[in-house]
């Protein structure tokens, strides 16, 4: 196979991985935020984000036949999902985690798993009432088309992409933009604002934060609100990107996203993004290893195909953590002796 075919192939694989990675990244941030303040792996986050996806589905479904501008629909879907997922997350914290503040860390972890199971069946039930199980997104027209296929103003770019054989759909571009905006906002809030500093203080020592005049419960709620809202965004993007979701489809990406958060260094926002992107790309590259294996005549590589792509992230994680035990961008865990 010549380079002219292989190059666009590999570029497509990488681009696919990056887009996937952005989805992971935002999901990962939901985990990271909560992990930051409570040192809790919030297993329920996968359902919080799928709830966002369900809300997005409903918005698109209801607005299906309206003549409304597609971007406006998306905006409504995003906002609605942010609100619902955010509030849901706050509610979960209030009811299921807050009473366990003093307990050993594994106790809220098990509670989180319980909440996750509850939400799965509840979501399935609610959609099941209307005879639905797999929810298929009806995207506004144009979203699923090739990027810059029609608009004359960007036709040159579209043409260029086509000539080099790169597939990008409009929804992918939208996804990346939404993701970048959310990331930027979050980064600003956490690192630049008073709220962010307070959240970080609470995440390290709730009692002392109280001595600084910070209401730690309020900050924890705020964190869950932000984390949930990010979950909502990621849910809509997830649904948009892959088309179909159901009440149970949050679990797998949830795990990978959390892996991404760990890979990047738990608690680090750029880390989560880097981790997400890396895992997205790696997952995709492992999926095509056999192509290269065959090309290079390496029979053993030829057997590494998509069936291994699920564990690719974990193997990378092991390798990286062995050399960098606190993740790629994780602050070294300072403990002075």
């Amino acid at each position: 196979m010549e380079l002219s075919v292989l190059l666009p192939f590999i570029v497509n694989v990488i681009i696919g991985g990056l887009v996937l990675g952005f989805v992971y990244a935002i999901i990962a941030l939901g985990y990271t935020m909560v992990y930051g303040v409570l040192q809790l792996i919030n297993f329920a986050h996968s359902e919080v984000f799928i709830t966002g996806a369900v809300v997005g589905f409903e918005v698109f479904r209801i607005l299906q036949n309206s003549a409304m501008n597609g971007y406006l629909k998306l905006l409504i879907a995003l906002v609605a999902a942010m609100i619902v997922s955010g509030l849901l997350n706050v509610l979960i914290e209030r009811l299921a985690y807050r009473p366990l503040r003093g307990a050993p860390r594994l106790v809220p972890l098990i509670t989180a798993i319980g909440v996750s199971l509850i939400l799965q069946d509840t979501l399935r039930f609610l959609e099941g009432l209307q005879g639905r199980f797999d929810l298929t997104y009806t995207l506004p027209t144009g979203f699923a088309d090739k990027f810059c296929a029609t608009t004359s103003s960007c036709a040159p770019l579209g043409n260029f992409l086509r000539t080099i054989g790169v597939d990008v759909q409009l929804k992918d571009v939208i996804l990346v933009i939404v993701a970048l905006v959310s990331l930027g906002l979050l980064n600003y809030v956490v690192n630049r604002t008073r709220l962010g500093k307070a959240i970080r203080a609470v995440s390290q020592d709730r009692v002392t934060a109280g001595l600084m005049g910070i209401d730690s419960n309020l900050m924890i709620s705020a964190t869950f609100l932000i984390g949930g809202a990010l979950g909502g965004v990621s849910g809509v993007l997830f649904g948009m990107k892959f088309g179909t979701i159901n009440a149970y489809s949050g679990f797998d990406p949830g795990i990978i996203a959390f892996t991404a958060a760990v890979l990047g260094g738990i608690g680090s926002i750029p880390g989560a993004v880097l981790g997400g992107l890396l895992l997205g790309v790696i997952q995709n590259l492992i999926g095509v290893t056999n192509i290269f294996g065959n090309l290079l005549g390496l029979a053993n590589l030829g057997t590494i195909d998509a069936s291994y792509s699920k564990i690719g992230p974990f193997i990378v994680l092991v390798l990286i953590l062995i050399f960098k035990p606190t993740g790629l961008l994780g602050k070294s865990n300072v403990e002075k002796v």
Binding site: F125, D205, L321
Partner: protein, 545 residues
């Protein structure tokens, strides 16, 4: 004047337990009768309304649970020793098998409970005692299961056939080379290790160790491969797997393999802290499952391995036959007895380790790694022992599980299983042996009896609409129970005394900062936040370089 006398031990009302011998025996008798009667169809027919009630699946599930509670009460209540013994032995060795004769599923259930109890005990060492969060524990279970299944099933002859057909240049020469390589590599590794005990390791010596490690690995692979090739002639003879008499050997082998895999997985990852470890073990658990799914030659991949043999013990079978068991129940009864013995051993090992130097080291590590190390506790070694011990319990139970199921496939070893075992540990009470066993019993009963019972009992109740039939809400109900139990008893059902002491500082005082209570305030000079903290990566401890 003296210094104030602080920290009087918490004044707890001393629990004067009333003697409950009579109650215990009474309870035992009543529940045994209920259990036996409710599984005796003929008797039930003549019981009329009572029979109908007993036949109700929820009631049935409750009867089973109550009966099993005997053992718990015999453990918990204050009663004469003879009564405790009577109830314990009577329930487990007499009544339960008897009921199992009428209802085989009771045997299945009991075995499953004990398998999970052993898993929970193993994970308890890792998580509860040593404080290492392992979310991929089921991997060791899988290793044990496959270790036996590959050999104790037609798979083995498939493997041999494959090697017979693909021998390549492998032959007895390879065997010799392999053996020599193995011996040399192992020898060098031991030598280098010995050296490291005396002088500080250098980069060169570390590299040589690594190299020798590779040598060892290749040696073992060569030896294994040539043995398989040489043995391929007997593929036909082994069409149904190796002689079931090897079951006993493999019982030991599964322990060792799982422990070995525990060490191999542990070596690279046990340096990691807290949740980094959690997620990486989760990942490695998945890796093992995916490997099982992909290494079709050995594991039959997604098709699963079947039938899997169990030990054949003729005298046991005739005994069971004489006791009125049906032939198809022999192997379950056998596994039931086996699993009882194994779990007794595991429990004994647990208790003994806990009250020993190694048990103290585990807890010390859990409490404070740095201080533990500074007190002379070798971190890696102690953690590895915890990992390997926990893994070995899972390994042996994996093998028994495979024999019980007669079929295994990678699906049975997914992440959810690891999480389930973890929930048993936490639900029962981390660090408490009786607690985690109870946790395993409760969760297994819920999943295999009570929830299905709910589904069955409500299936034909006309006023419950299909959409909300409990049979469709197993996860929901299970999740709700998990959450409720955690909120009501965060320290677990039968908490470990040590844990209770800890938790009660905090537990009684709700939340700290907001309500103005003291839970976050540790006594002593703990300056740093309670985060995940420990050593700095750029300042590895001396020996790690």
């Amino acid at each position: 004047m003296t210094v104030a006398n602080p920290a009087k031990p918490a004044v707890r009302r001393p629990l004067v337990k009333p003697d409950r011998t009579v109650w215990l025996v009474l309870f035992f008798v009543v529940t045994s009768i209920l259990l036996l009667v409710s599984h005796e169809t003929d008797v039930m027919k003549n019981l009329g309304a009572l029979g109908d009630v007993l036949r109700n699946k929820v009631v049935e599930a409750l009867v089973v649970s109550l009966f099993l509670a005997n053992v718990l009460f015999a453990y918990l209540w204050k009663a004469a020793n003879w009564a405790k013994l009577l109830v314990g032995i009577g329930s487990l060795l007499f009544v339960l098998p008897l009921a199992g004769q009428a209802d085989t599923s009771l045997l299945d259930l009991s075995i499953q409970i004990m398998i999970f109890a052993a898993l929970a005990l193993g994970l308890n060492i890792v998580v509860g005692l040593a404080g290492l969060l392992d979310l991929g524990y089921v991997a060791f279970f899988a290793v044990g299961a496959y270790t036996w299944s590959i050999f104790g099933s037609p798979r083995f002859s498939e493997v041999l056939k494959y090697y017979g057909a693909n021998a390549g240049s492998t032959g007895s020469g390879t065997l010799v080379i392999g053996l020599v390589l193995t011996a040399v590599a192992a020898g060098s590794m031991l030598y280098i290790r010995g050296m490291h005990g005396r002088v500080a390791p250098t980069t060169l010596s570390n590299l040589s160790f690594l190299l020798a490690g590779f040598g060892l690995l290749s040696g073992i692979i060569l030896v294994g491969r040539s043995i398989l090739v040489l043995a391929s002639g007997s593929a036909e003879a082994l069409a149904n797997g190796i002689n079931p008499g090897f079951f006993w050997l493999f019982l030991a082998l599964s322990v060792m393999t799982a422990a070995l895999v525990g060490v191999l997985i542990g070596l690279p990852v046990l340096k990691l802290k807290g949740d980094y470890l959690a997620i990486i073990t989760l990942g490695l658990g998945e890796v093992i499952r995916v490997l099982a799914n992909n290494l079709g030659l050995y594991t039959a991949g997604s098709q699963g391995i079947t039938p899997i043999a169990s030990a054949s013990v003729p005298w046991f079978n005739s005994l069971a036959g004489a006791l009125g068991f049906r032939p198809e129940q022999y192997y379950l009864l056998f596994l039931y007895v086996l699993v009882l013995i194994v779990i007794a051993v595991i429990l004994l090992v647990n208790v003994r380790l806990d009250n020993s130097r190694i048990g103290r080291a585990w807890i010390a590590i859990r409490d404070d790694e740095i201080a533990a190390q500074a007190m002379g506790v070798p971190l890696m070694q102690t953690k590895l022992i915890a990992f390997a011990t926990g893994a070995s319990f899972a390994g042996v139970m994996g093998m028994i599980f495979a024999a019980k199921q007669t079929f295994i496939s990678p699906e049975s070893f997914n992440l959810l299983q690891s999480i389930t075992v973890l929930s048993m540990v936490v639900l029962g009470g981390m660090g408490s042996f009786s607690g985690v066993i109870l946790g395993a019993a409760v969760v297994t009963l819920l999943n295999l009896r009570i929830l299905p019972g709910l589904g069955e009992a409500s299936a034909n109740v006309s006023w419950i609409p299909q959409e909300v039939n409990p049979a469709n809400f197993n996860r929901f109900i299970f999740g709700s129970i998990l959450v409720a139990m955690m909120l009501l008893r965060p320290e677990g059902l039968l908490p470990n005394a040590r844990r209770t002491r800890e938790l009660h500082h905090e537990d009684d005082q709700e939340d700290e900062s907001a309500d103005g209570n003291a839970s976050g305030l540790k006594a002593g000079g703990d300056v740093y936040s309670a985060g995940l903290a420990t050593t700095k990566e750029d300042d590895k401890t001396g020996g790690d370089r």
